[in-house]
Amino acid sequence: MVASPQPASRMQWLFGAMALPRGWRLGAGPVIAAIVLFIIVMLALLAPLIVPHDPMAIDALQRLKGPSETYPLGTDAYGRDVLSRVITGGRVSLFIGISAAVVSVLIGLLIGLVSGFFRTADAIIMRIMDSLMAIPSILLAIALVALNGPSIWSVMGAITIPEIPRVVRLVRSVVLSAREEPYVEAAIALGSSMPKILWQHLMPNTLAPLIVQGTYICASAILTEAILSFLGAGVSTEIPTWGNIMAEGRVYFQLKPSLIFWPGLMLSLCILSINLLGDTARDMLDPRLKKREG
């Protein structure tokens, strides 16, 4: 019965005994998704070095031009290079996506752990979370932008706040089911303190589902940012973001649909890749799949 002794790998620690379900293979989808995402991230990081033109440079003579050698994707209504703008546009989107995911997961984890373990705090915390979930993020964002002016922080706040309750609920449910496990009761019997049990026994159970949730939050944050920019409630219109480029392209949609097409394509590819990776991670650790096939 005893398998060969393996070194403690990081995956082992993260996923615990939940090995991959039998017959599970890494398909082509996730690999392509990872490559696409890598390219998009690299483009965004290196944007200032690789863009062919200054994404802000206005040229009144080159308005709404079609693709050419100098402007591979054409120009916009101000004569700015669309390719340079699309490459640069990823920077803000990715920043917002990643930071919204990190911030909401961290805050949600803390609140969720407290809520899952302390019954007295639980009722109050969950009512507040229910309330926050009731406020639609787009409207909250619109309100924040109306009050504070368009800024990246308003947008981030508006995206992060409604995500927190979802993380809290997830963490809480994992903690609630894990604390019934005999090994947690054994730890109580061994005299381990509550904070120690919470952190060493219960918290690691939440990490794998949180990584999955984090990717979904990241994807939906990028999406929401684009929608807000499109509605004119996003980051300042001077900064090129995918949403802003599309918002400016609206007016010329019938004339020149590529102004929406290219940033839309980049945005969709980016979100699609993140979602696919999230799905892959979820499949790896979904105990239900294991139950059906194991």
Partner: protein
């Protein structure tokens, strides 16, 4: 012991399984799950298929039903013959027509085998809707008739009930009614009583026998319990790792087992005869419980339900080096008592003294240093160790809490592993690399690492196969002799209790109904409930380990 001695030489075969081979789907190289299994069942006969977990008993039954999990297991060879047809060749619709009409199946878990959102009457009636064209009135009449036949009380009410409103035994009766309403030739029963209490088990076994007699049904009965086998089987097949290793009429198999594996299996069955009495306890009690009470309150603004008394006025004491068993069926309060003593839940009233400390009312903080005096081993070996922690880390958790240095704790952990019979390189491995029995040894080592005065074993061997069960019981006994620990042993299994306990407490509905030496409780029970429990224990007149009748002194 009266075995079944019916003769089936003239009875026609109902089911003929020939050389059935089942493999993992898409994996020709792995060892087959079923390896050329052959067995036949004749009309009116009860064939028992016994074996330990992973032996392939359930796969055999699912193959006959055509219910092997799609994409996971496939029958690659052999034949399952019923009424001259090979079931393996039938298409989906033809196979569906066979089910319930020719072959039926009942399952282990009556709690989950019924659809929770459909009334049970409708679930039985669905069989008729699927296979017959009767009027609504006739259907209802037949459903009520079969519900009467399985001795359900107040059938009109139960007809309209949902599964969660019924007890486990009643749900299993519904399952049987559903299986037998169309009078199939073959009934497959896959561990149908394993999840039930022993008294309910006896009723269900009697019911199956009664209906079998009445309808002449052939029964394929799958079980791991030799007691049940002795009680109901005509013919027995013993399975091991996908093969049938021995088959014989029941008495012949129990008296003269031919194969080594069968002998081992039988020898591992714990005897109902209590262990030889040990010397009277010297010294004072290390655990004493008096007037213990646990009430689950019902508060809340709109909930109006009576508070439940999970345990009432429980008293006992265990001296050093002795074992006291608490025996009872589910809901008897035995686990509640264990959890109160461990202070995993807070007792409502009463005193708990552990090694001269009163712990029933101590705060969590004040309790913490006293935890080392009393430790617990749980039932499920797969969940009682943190899957993310190495064995070593689990073993030193307690000692580190008590202020032992890490280095000292680790070297002690290695000694403990040796003590419980595991290699000392186990210390760097993870729980999933061990079998259930090995994990239970680790859990015991983890408890022993605290050098406790009292060890609580809460159904600690119930999830293990009998052969492993015997080894773990031996280990507990050995540790007790070496270390002089007192053991509080919680179990539903009288046989296990007989093997390890000096004293036995019998609990029913949260109360202690009998408390005496193991010998007295098991051989001269005074309370009616204790007597009922003992009488319900299947195969109680047979001494499996010695292949003969129980010798009464």
């Amino acid at each position: 012991m009266k075995f079944k001695t019916r003769n089936f030489d003239d009875a026609p075969n109902v089911l003929e399984i020939e050389e059935l081979t089942v493999r993992l789907a898409g994996n020709e190289t792995a060892a087959p799950v079923l390896d050329h299994v052959s067995l036949k069942i004749r009309q009116g006969e009860t064939v028992c298929l016994v074996g330990e977990s992973g032996s392939g008993k359930s796969v055999t039954s699912l193959s006959v039903m055509g219910l092997l999990p799609k994409g996971a297991l496939v029958a690659t060879g052999g034949r399952i013959g019923l009424e001259g047809k090979n079931l393996l060749d039938l298409g989906p619709q033809a196979m569906r027509d066979m089910r319930a009409q020719k072959i039926s199946m009942i399952f282990q878990e009556p709690m989950t085998a019924l659809n929770p959102v459909i009334r049970v009457g409708d679930q039985i009636e669905e069989v008729l809707n699927t296979h017959t064209r009767l009027s609504a009135k006739e259907k209802k009449a037949r459903v009520l008739d079969i519900m009467n036949q399985v001795h359900l009380p107040d059938v009109e009410r139960i007809y309209r009930s949902y599964p969660h409103q019924l007890s486990g035994g009643q749900r299993q009766r519904i399952m049987i009614a559903m299986a037998l309403i169309l009078e199939p030739q073959l009934l497959i029963a896959d561990e149908p009583t394993t999840a039930l209490d022993v008294t309910t088990q006896q009723q269900i076994l009697t019911l199956i026998a009664e209906l079998q007699e009445k309808h002449g049904t052939a029964v394929l009965f799958i079980t791991h319990d030799m007691g049940v086998v002795a009680e109901i089987a005509d013919t027995v097949h013993v399975m091991k790792l996908g093969k049938i290793v021995e088959q014989a009429p029941v008495e012949q198999l129990l008296r003269h087992p031919q194969e080594e594996y069968t002998r081992e299996l039988l020898q591992a069955v714990p005897s109902l005869t209590p262990r030889a009495a040990r010397d009277a306890p010297g010294g004072e009690a290390v655990l004493s419980v008096s007037g213990l009470q646990k009430v689950y309150g019902a508060h809340g603004v709109f909930k109006r339900s009576e508070p439940t008394k999970a345990a009432t006025d429980v008293n006992f004491a265990i001296p050093r080096g002795r074992t006291l068993g608490i025996v009872g069926e589910s809901g008897s309060g035995k686990s509640t008592v264990a959890r109160c003593i461990m202070r995993l839940i807070d007792p409502t009233e009463g005193e708990i003294r552990v090694a001269d400390h009163e712990i029933a009312t101590l705060s969590r903080r004040a309790l913490q240093p006293l935890r080392r005096h009393i430790q617990i081993v749980f039932q499920d070996p797969f969940r009682s160790l943190n899957p993310r922690w190495t064995i070593g880390r689990s073993l030193v958790e307690g000692p580190l809490n008590m202020g032992t240095e890490r280095k000292a704790a680790l070297s002690r952990a290695r000694e403990l592993l040796k003590l419980v019979g595991l290699p000392d390189d186990a210390i760097d491995r993870y729980p999933h690399q061990f079998s259930g029995g090995q994990r239970q040894r680790v859990a015991i080592a983890r408890a022993i690492a605290m050098e406790p005065d009292v060890l609580v074993a809460d159904e600690a061997v119930s999830a293990l196969d009998v052969s492993v069960q015997a080894q773990v019981l031996d280990l507990l006994d050995e540790l007790q002799q070496k270390l002089g620990i007192a053991i509080l042993f919680i179990t539903h299994d009288l046989r296990v209790a007989a093997q390890i306990c000096d004293e036995v407490v019998v609990m029913q509905h949260g109360r202690v109904v009998e408390h005496d030496s193991a010998a007295n409780v098991l051989s001269a029970p005074r309370h009616a409930y204790t007597r009922a429990l003992i009488e319900a224990a299947p195969g109680r007149q047979w001494d499996f380990a010695n292949f003969r009748e129980l010798q009464t002194v």
